[in-house]
């Protein structure tokens, strides 16, 4: 029995979402692109002049941009891979651990639900050169004789930030893999056991292949999140310093657009950032579709 207006029912249901998304997401992004084609400067009142792709040309010739890009990529690659491996190890461990699966899981999930800002705060304090816990412990154990400025040395700042991210997000991969491990079918494993396979062989040839789709999903989600969460983390821990050691695209955008007041330039950088990220997302999405069970 069809009622009048029923044909429109589904469209009515999605209309608010579509309109809202368009107004608040799509339109601003397009506007941002137009802004990047101007010379808009936050403090120069009449600065909205159209200058074409000049900003983009500048960005591509800006050494700091390339450093930030490199750092962004480096961060993502290292962090995601470490989290996948560590997460898998932890999941395997937890899988074998007895009792209290629910409690373990809940406690595990807490760090990954933190605001990244909070994680940044914790670790900024942890790595602090005057009273950070790390230096405190190392000093009192006599391993070092003067505190190390983890966040101010160019060769330790980035690892420190990566450490913070890994701390926060390994639980995510671990929980995902654990869920996968728990739902693995028993038969192939039992068959392998009967065939006399060693634990390593069982892992390598039975478990791992079955986990492949999960690995892909975890990698996708982590890769997409990495840049955004890293922004919050780095803003609080190092502000992008020292000397661009931890400057990623997000923090560089902020620096140019808000601190230096060069809004249009910042818009150009963020647009490039977005294109790269979205492009990568689409690529991962295609991979996911291919491997989707």
């Amino acid at each position: 029995m069809r009622m009048r207006g029923e044909r429109y029912f589904p469209y009515v249901l999605i209309l608010p979402s579509v309109v809202g998304t368009f107004l608040l997401i799509v339109f601003p992004l397009v506007y941002s692109f137009f802004l990047s084609l101007t010379s808009f400067h936050l403090l120069k009142a009449q600065s909205l002049r159209f200058i074409g792709f000049h900003n983009y040309w500048e960005v591509l010739h800006d050494p700091a941009f390339w450093v930030a890009l490199k750092n962004s990529l480096l961060f993502m690659v290292v962090v995601v891979n470490v989290e996948l491996v560590l997460g898998l190890l932890v999941a395997l461990l937890l899988n074998r651990a007895s009792g209290g699966q629910g409690i373990l899981r809940t406690l595990f999930m807490i760090p990954m639900m933190f605001p990244p800002i909070l994680v940044g705060l914790q670790f900024r304090w942890f790595f602090n050169d005057q009273f950070g816990l790390l230096n405190n412990v190392l000093l009192s154990l006599g391993i070092i004789d003067r505190p190390i400025g983890w966040l101010v040395r160019t060769n330790t700042a980035m690892p420190a930030v990566m450490f913070a991210d890994i701390w926060q997000n390994t639980p995510f991969t671990a929980v995902v893999f654990l869920a996968g491990l728990l739902s693995l079918p028993i038969e192939p494993l039992e068959a392998a056991l009967v065939d006399g396979a060693s634990p390593w062989q069982r892992f390598r040839y039975v478990i791992l292949p079955m986990l492949r789709p999960l690995i892909l999903i975890a990698m996708t989600i982590r890769s997409l999140d990495a840049g955004r969460k890293a922004f919050d983390l780095i803003m609080l821990m190092t502000g992008g310093g020292p000397a661009y050691a931890t400057e990623i695209l997000g923090t560089y955008t902020f620096r140019r657009a808000i601190v230096d007041y060069q809004f249009a330039y910042g818009a150009a950088i963020s647009f490039i950032d977005m294109v790269l990220t979205v492009g990568f997302a689409v690529y991962l999405y295609r991979q996911l579709l291919k491997g989707r069970v």
């Binding site: 249901l13 809202g20 074998r96 595990f108 639900m113 869920a179 902020f254 809004f263 963020s270 950032d273």
Partner: protein, 285 residues
Amino acid sequence: MKSRRRREQVITALCTVFAVVILVALLFPTYWMVQTSFRVGREINAFPPVWFPREVTLSSYVKLFGSPHEEASLPFREYFRNSFLVAVLSGFFSIVLGTLAGYAFSRFEFRGKRNLFLSVILMRAIPGLALGLPLLVLFKRVQLVNTLSGLILTYTMLNTPFVIWLMEGFFADIPAELSEAALIDGCSRWRALWRVDIPLAAPGISASAIFSFLLSWNEFAIALILTRTPASRTLPVGLFDFVGEFFIDWGGMCAAGTIILIPVVVLTFFIQRWMVRGLTFGAIK
């Protein structure tokens, strides 16, 4: 055989021990932060470190909620209120929008249904600043900068696709026959939705609500750009300001951090059942 079983037991025991060790290591920085918030000033940065507080005090917390004209205190109450309002309201609106749309996607054939998953992923991919910068300029035109409403609108639209996706999955689990039965009995589509499907999807709605709340509660980059004053500044940005304003009041910072933590921990507890599903966009149930 017996030695094999013994070996299995040993391995299990070892794994449990390791798991506990890892758990402790994982939760340690958090434990340290929380207990620092209760520390007396002297002990906070004591060297060598004091592992368990000998004296407990609430003074860091008291200072946080002090009056605005007192020296060097932060409008923490306002930040908390702002974060709470924004998270609750944007969560609520995204639930409404998302549930309706999710229902539509699960029950009807659409062109572009495929693209739903893609758009959800894309939402996650947009760097905060890429959206925040233009919104700053646009909101200025409509007087929405530094308002709670501006944040609520933005967060709602950021969260909605995720909710749509989650709810689509939850609705898909509910057999269509149930609402069909209601239709046959004479209900309109709306009535059927309201009376049958939504109650059945209640767990999914709760889960989505909590996810949305947490996403808004934790958001930083956009809030950083769109808010100015305690009228609309949220907790994560307040924390960031802390580092400038309190210079090195670690007790205060840890107290603020602990307070920010509380809803997170509490709500995580409630949704841990749907955690994996939610975080992997329903790809794993």
